[in-house]
Amino acid sequence: MKEGDIMNMPALDLRLTEENLDDLYDNAPCGYCSCLPDGTLVKLNHTLLQWLGYQREELVARHCLQQLLTVGGRLHFEMHGVPLLLLQGHIREISYSLRTKAGAAVPVLLNAVLLRDANGDPLVVRVTLFDITDRRKYEQELLRSKAEAEAQREQLRTQNEELIRINADLDSFVYTASHDLRQPVHNLAGLFQEFERSATFHDPASGNMVGMFHGALQQLLTTIDGLTEVVQRKRELEQAPAEAVELQAFTEEIIRSLPAAVGEPEAVFTLDFGAVPTLHMARPGLQSVLYNLLSNALKYAQPGQVPRIAVRTAYHDGMAVLSVQDNGRGIDLERHGGELFQLFRRFHPDVAGSGVGLYLVNRLVHLAGGRVETSSEVGQGTTFRLFLPQ
């Protein structure tokens, strides 16, 4: 503002600026009091007296400032407020509650300054108090929310630890159980073979039953192997470091290792990794995933038809997509979609299998931070798309 602007401003009616200082002190919108260094009250304004419900004569020279506070507040004031006041000459924004004569609490913020005499000795303490009834409610709400959030965080942390522990326990239980079951089942197979060699069956139906017994034993062994594989693959993936896997050679190697289906036409594989030639993932995990998907594609081919299997990569929303598409039997996803990745769930009972493959694929992809999407049409074929973070 330039000097000229001030000159041009309308003259202020000076009567409006005249304040009665005594009235301002007594009826200010805040509480005032002055105390001796030991806290003895020597002067209070009307506002403060009204809050407290005391007569001036009841307090002056008879009461200390500390006595107007709650006992807890007084402890705080003596241990923290007074030392601060003596050390730095002032205290600001300390939150206390005043006790009124009737026993009610008035939440206040306390500011104070210490005046010293010519020798530097404490002379008088001037105190200003602000009523913060509403603010205190809000602050207590905040404190409550904070305490709740902390309690919940703590609860989540313990629950998480518990879950991690249970998961590890479960894994070792499955591993131990499958490991311990394998030996007795093998013994059972051996004993039965011996029994079959030495025994003579008179009932013509016995031959059939022996065959069924073999089948059941085989199923038991497959299940046990499946369980062992689930745990082992997961452990391998947790231990193996992620690395860049060159897909063309890697997939060709897996295709060579697939068991040939006897009496069925040879499968035709189409590989196209142009879009994403390498994947960043633990090698054993990727091996297990691709092997299971490809062997499934062969196993569930349409009888008498040439299996055509395409393995491709693409990019989608910053993720690598590895897809395996076949022209096999397909799955009714409307009916079975929800159970597709469940352990030991099987959809084609006429084809041998353990019910572990897709469960493992899904679990390994999730462990690698990705997800699996499936589309399928009965009689037309199935496509699995693995979305993997890179």
């Binding site: 260094p37 030991d38 806290g39 500390q66 709650t70 006992v71 807890g72 507040g73 007084r74 402890l75 705080h76 003596e78 241990m79 923290h80 007074v82 030392p83 601060l84 003596l86 050390l87 730095q88 205290i91 600001r92 924004e93 300390i94 939150s95 206390y96 509650s97 939440p107 404490p122 205190r136 602050e139 207590q140 404190l143």
Partner: protein, 270 residues
């Protein structure tokens, strides 16, 4: 971290004997600044911050370890050992008066004299004992501390600490002298006010000065008399003062009383 850094130990003064000052709850070694300098011409003066207070190593504050005053007593002993101090004068205020008592019991050879400023062996009332407070009062203190969460926060760097000669620097800082981490302050308050050291008192063999104000809400006269009765070689001096911090509100009286206790002959000559 070595113990001298952990407890933010400062050493000044010259003399054959060392005088170690331990602050109470609610502040830090700055509490001694009106009293400690008066002894620097005759004593090695050692100030420290309890772990969790002032500029001590806050990361060393493990609530499990500091769930009793014993851990603080061990810390003080660590400092005495690190500085190779024996036959010291150990001055403790408020809760640290009891910490000093524990130090003297554990290693009597390290402590020649105890000066207990505004001490209390137990704040809560008990059958046949008046500590001055009920549990509800202490709960109210915790509530007040909660309401002053911001004020206790150590968010503001206490610049002034390094510039005692320039007090104007403190003007910009709000309540900066006694900043404390709120969570630690809460925990230390709990340990302080729920502790009971009455059973330790008969084990003290060190001559002790009990120094207290005539009016002190935290350590009433009855508590001072209780201590005097239960500390074998103790002397009770009541200062004509009001409040829990005579070393701040009546520094000259405090200095005189300590001098009289330590060197009665010298004072008599003067």
């Amino acid at each position: 971290m070595d113990v001298l850094n952990r407890n933010n130990v400062t050493v000044t003064g010259t003399g054959q004997q060392a005088m170690v000052f331990v602050h109470g709850f609610g502040c830090n070694q700055h509490m001694w600044r009106l009293v400690a300098p008066a002894f620097e011409d005759r004593y090695r003066v050692i100030l420290l911050d309890l772990v969790g207070a002032g500029k001590s190593d806050l990361t060393a504050y493990d609530p499990a370890r500091y769930s009793s005053l014993d851990a603080h007593a061990e810390d003080v002993l660590d400092v005495l050992q690190a500085l190779d101090l024996h036959d010291i004068v150990l001055v403790g205020h408020s809760v640290s008066a009891m910490i000093a008592v524990l130090v003297a019991i554990r290693k009597p050879a390290r402590v020649a004299r105890l000066v207990l400023v505004a001490p209390s062996p137990r704040y809560l009332n008990d059958t046949g004992y008046t500590g001055g407070f009920e549990l509800a009062d202490i709960e109210e203190l915790f509530e007040t501390m909660d309401n002053n969460y911001l004020g206790w926060s150590a968010g503001i760097t206490p610049v002034i600490m390094g510039h005692p000669e320039r007090p104007e620097l403190s003007e910009e800082l709000n309540n900066s002298f006694c900043n404390t981490d709120p969570a630690i302050a809460q925990h230390f308050a709990r340990v302080t006010f729920l502790s009971d050291n009455r059973a330790d008192l008969p084990h003290v063999r060190t001559p002790a000065l009990i120094l207290q104000s005539a009016q002190d809400a935290l350590a009433p006269l009855a508590v001072g008399q209780y201590l005097h009765q239960h500390l074998a070689q103790s002397q009770l001096t009541v200062l004509n003062n009001s409040g829990h911090c005579p070393h701040l509100s009546a520094p000259q009286q405090t200095i005189s009383a300590i001098n009289l206790f330590l060197e009665p002959a010298r004072i008599a000559q003067v």
